[in-house]
Symmetry: C2
Subunit: 151 residues, 2 copies
């Protein structure tokens, strides 16, 4: 459904959301989300270029979400690193489909649109520690890892 | 959303659905769906191994859908060539997520499940020529191409 890069970006974003508004270093995020530093640094740079995260240099520097977790969506993160592909036009370039897609490509685009909407409707704040519908407490992978790492 | 291989398989499946129950040669499908014969032959072989299409040798041979178009879904085709990846377990292998996914991975799996369901609910017969909600006639890319090719 989503690429490995988008998966990594989301893990990192959840880690930054949990720490918000405090900055987190690449090293700490890397350990929390089980992604090597060089790859993660590229992902975080892409998120920074897209204006989703911001970085501060210096001793107490690191990456922070640009906006609070309840104002940053899963879609913001995914679109920054590996956008969901909508079917903009007939992939076969048929002139008769300039005005509207054929049934197959319309359905495929509808599926992409539904995923986009679900991701748009999910703020990062919904992905932090909490309680699930059965009353069990849940913690994100990355936050769980960080807690393990600091104990 | 779906891979190039899945897109090609779906174009081919729509072509076979339109011709059903008559067999169609790889050459005819290739021309209809704008996919080179060697690549398409591999895709059709994969669909045949999965039991979605069947091939008949001989002068009047070719590929046919195994079941009628209203009993073959978009999901049948996609799963045969490039299955939608569900999140079966915690990608980070956290022991605390053995029983249930964290909020991020649960949402990602829900998105995959919704796409699966939409594809399961779409028989190939829904993708053939017809009339859209605005009353305009629509023809699939591949069928459009075939008509052009035979005129």
């Amino acid at each position: 459904m989503i690429s490995q890069t988008a998966e990594y970006a989301l893990r990192a974003a959840v880690t930054l959301a949990d720490a918000y508004p405090a900055p987190t270093t690449v090293q700490v995020v890397s350990e929390a989300v089980s992604v090597p530093v060089p790859y993660l640094a590229k992902v975080l740079s892409t998120l920074a270029r897209a204006g989703v995260v911001t970085s501060q240099r210096g001793k107490r520097g690191g990456f922070t979400l640009m906006r609070p977790p309840d104002q940053t969506s899963v879609l913001d993160i995914v679109q920054a690193v590996d956008p969901i592909e909508r079917v903009q036009g007939c992939p076969l370039g048929r002139p008769e489909h300039h005005e509207g897609l054929c049934p197959l490509h319309r359905r495929l685009d509808e599926a992409a649109a539904r995923t986009e909407q679900a991701f748009r409707d999910t703020p990062l704040s919904d992905l932090l520690s909490g309680t699930d519908v059965t009353g069990q407490s849940v913690i994100p992978c990355s936050i769980g890892a960080r807690e393990v790492a600091t104990t």
